[in-house]
Amino acid sequence: MSDKTANFVIFSALVALGLVAPFLFPAYMAQMTELWLFIVLALTWDLLGGKMGYNSFGNVVFLGIGVYATAVIQVALLYDVGAYNAARGGGTEFVFSAGDYLRGLALGLSASAILAALAAIVIGIFVLGMRGQYFAICTLGLGIAAGEIAGGWDWIGAGSGMTVPQPPADFPSGRLFYYLSLALAVITFVALTWVMSTRFGLAINAIRDDEDKAEAMGHYTTRIKVTAWAISALFLGMAGGIYGNLKRFIDPVDVAFAAPTIGVWMVLMAILGGKGTIIGPIVGAIIFQFTKEFFWTYLLGWQRVALGVLIVVIVVFFPQGIVGYIRDRRAARLIREKRA
């Protein structure tokens, strides 16, 4: 079985499990929804961080753009956004019928995808000229700057945040967001698998291995890098839209542009599972979400310490990640067999 088929089999099994999971474990719906979104975050982060060798700490910007854009559009279809946020989204006058709610969500998610991708193109043109640690540090600044900007913008609620439109009473929003997240994870997986099967996939691998060489061979590397980031941002924007609705309340720094938590977690998930592979970030996201929830439940107060210890253990013993470790062992065996 080739790696590609194996990936599809593993992922299909996961999706099949995912489809029935809400009926099996209804109590954990919110955590499972978050898990599918985390898979999207890890997969899209890895497109740059793993497959192209550009470690971005700024991907959270595109998530945050999606968070806000979706919420704003959901509101703006019916009400004045400024007035809505000035009233803190409360009050009985801001009511959304089921039809309005769904229409706002659909439009919001599509717009989020486009806006986030456009933002990636604009930011990428300036930032992707930098390499290595310079790029990483610069993107770290991006996430923080975006949080500060959102925190100072009254129209979207500034530092007091924004409440997401509440679904009508007895609307099955939990299940809706679960299956939306699942669908987004599937689309992201299929799309990125396809991207990696094209010459574009080879080109971003080539940039990871030797960018100067790729340029000397006639590749417009900046254009390739910006496109890759825009592809990431497309899915991140949609993930953000769902994430914001899941959290119900958008704090600019703790939810939308949460660089020290989600912004770092997405990096961690990809590294945990194995950078540069397709299945690695998925494995990483699953392990991360399980341990995170476990630590937060049973080690409350020490959860961040426990998470930190886990990171150290993984980085020391599996620097290539779990899937990377397995792949390296298999590759080493293959080389030994060839030599023998």
């Binding site: 010459r199 574009f200 996939g201 080879l202 030797d210 340029e215 061979m217 060839k338």
Partner: protein, 247 residues
């Protein structure tokens, strides 16, 4: 016949160090031309200037009668002027075949065409060229696991895959096992004769370059010291002095 590559009065200085001073040379189409000179004489700087790694201070560089001294690296590569590196550069974590496939020329293709199947374009050609340089057996191994000499051969095959009109090789035999050097000379000659690729070669190994090149330029201290047929160069007192350190 006009020259394929024409370098006219090129000067390049790094701060106070003049790496190339007023250098003029030409590479006629279809020939193999050599470039020699002691360490630090400015050979690689000249290569870098030609392929657009840094702007030149004065002079002009024309490829196919077109001024290229203001052009960007990938644009020059797309004109069909390619170079290999002294420190071999290959894509280490990708397999040899993948290295070959991503080296297919982008000259006539749009950006969108990058989103087409990897295998569609030139898998057969990749196999042929890997066979040509003797790496066919290792084609599915990560390029980074090859020996230095094999990586040089792979880099050469990648350049051929790009189907260039002119190939500039920076010390192709450095670090290669002496018994393999003859095979490499033979392959370079065949690339020139069979594939019609004009070669411009920097080389320290005198036996190799005298055997290979039809015309040789010699640099010393950033200036063009001598030029001529291999025999003339070999017996030129200035060249001998430069190599023995009389300057």
């Amino acid at each position: 016949m006009t020259a394929l590559l024409e370098v006219r009065n090129v000067t390049k200085a790094f701060g106070g160090v003049i790496a190339n001073h007023d250098i003029s040379l030409e590479v006629p189409k279809g020939k193999i031309i050599g470039l020699i000179g002691p360490n630090g004489s400015g050979k690689t700087t000249l290569f870098n200037s030609i392929v657009g790694y840094h702007p030149i201070d004065a002079g002009s560089i024309r490829f196919k009668s077109r001024e290229i001294s203001q052009m960007q690296v990938p644009d020059i590569a797309r004109l069909g002027l390619l170079r290999t590196f002294q420190q071999t550069r290959i894509y280490g974590k990708m397999t040899c075949v993948q290295n070959m496939l991503i080296s297919v020329s982008e000259r006539n293709s749009s950006f969108v065409s990058l989103f087409t199947s990897q295998t569609g374009k030139g898998t057969k050609r990749a196999d042929e060229l890997l066979e040509f340089v003797g790496l066919y057996e290792k084609r599915h191994l990560p390029a980074g696991t090859l020996s230095f000499g094999q990586q040089k051969l792979l880099e050469f095959a990648m350049a051929l895959m790009n189907d260039p009109e002119m190939l500039m090789l920076d010390e192709p035999t450095a670090g290669i096992n002496p018994t393999l050097i003859n095979g490499l000379i033979d392959r370079l000659k065949r690339a020139n004769a069979d594939f019609g690729i004009t070669l411009f070669v920097i080389e320290h190994n005198m036996r190799v370059i005298m055997n290979l090149a039809e015309h040789i330029y010699c640099l010393a201290h950033g200036e063009l010291l001598a030029e001529g047929e291999p025999d003339e160069i070999q017996n030129d007192q200035r060249v001998i002095d430069a190599y023995l350190g009389a300057h």
